[in-house]
Amino acid sequence: MIAVAAVADAPEDSAPPRRYVGLVTRALAFALDAALINAIAILVAAVVSLTFSIITVPHEVKVVAAAAGGVIYLLWIIGYFTTFWATTGQTPGSRVMRIRVIPASGDRLPPRRAVVRFIGLTLATIPLFAGFLPILVDDRRRGLQDMLARTVVVEAPDEELPASARHGPPSPR
């Protein structure tokens, strides 16, 4: 039997309680996402580099393009995570590992809190990943990013979507 830290309850319907997900599973999901993000970024960068290799442009343009590429890469990473967290709650890596980010209260994670979660993720990584250690001892297996954005990560069996994703966007608040 798999030992669990705790079980998340489904408050609105009679769905079975879901377990909070631990560090290893989340790390694997994150690694899959990182691989996907970088694969796409490398592909795009290769196409752009090949284009620049056959077109003669001034050196200054190349510098600006490299800076713009860096900014676009950053936006791509932020957009990737926040979009998936704020819509289905599952990045592709999370989907493979069958886990989902949900708000501790409410149905769907608002985009602003998704951005906060991404900032928390970055902050948790900076001190040699120490921000993820609370996942090991917290009863709800929350890391720094979860505490900042008030989220939890739970198991998500196949074809399970949050109520908001099933019935359309929530009513404006």
Binding site: A3, V4, A6, D9, R98
Partner: protein, 185 residues
Amino acid sequence: MPSLGTVVDPFGLWSRASLAVLDRVLASQWANDALTITLRSALAERAVLTVIEGSLGQAALASAIRSGLAERAATELVESGALARILDSDEMEELVGQVLDSRLLDTSVTRILASEELWIVVDEVARSPAVTDAIAHQGVGFAGQMAEELGERSRRADARLERIARKLLRRRPAPDDAVVLPEPP
């Protein structure tokens, strides 16, 4: 007016005597030897070939087909159990073995494999929606199985790592079945 036969042989004695003589002749060793010699002769062989290759053979075959003789024979073979006996027999097993070992089968397989039609059929089958769906379903199923296995192993690793961390920090073990309600909005 009485017929000539009635007049000549009013009691049919002559006819009966003739039949008795014929019966004796046919039952004799002489008749048997004569028949054997005739059937073994080149003449008999030529006669049979003439019948088979000539219009008589064709007519006999057409007549047999028209009258449903082949169907009746097949039905009789099946219903009488003769077919099952034949198929179960050692002779049939030996015959099949000989066919499989024969050059005929090798040649046939080689010719079938070399035929363009076979590969057209194979191509059609491979492209059929049923086959592509089955392959896709199997691929997805395999990926799903892999993900499930990976998930199970990672969750076991989660629990193990957590136990070690809590032991090091001297914290109470993780609750196994605690149900945590979401925070109120």
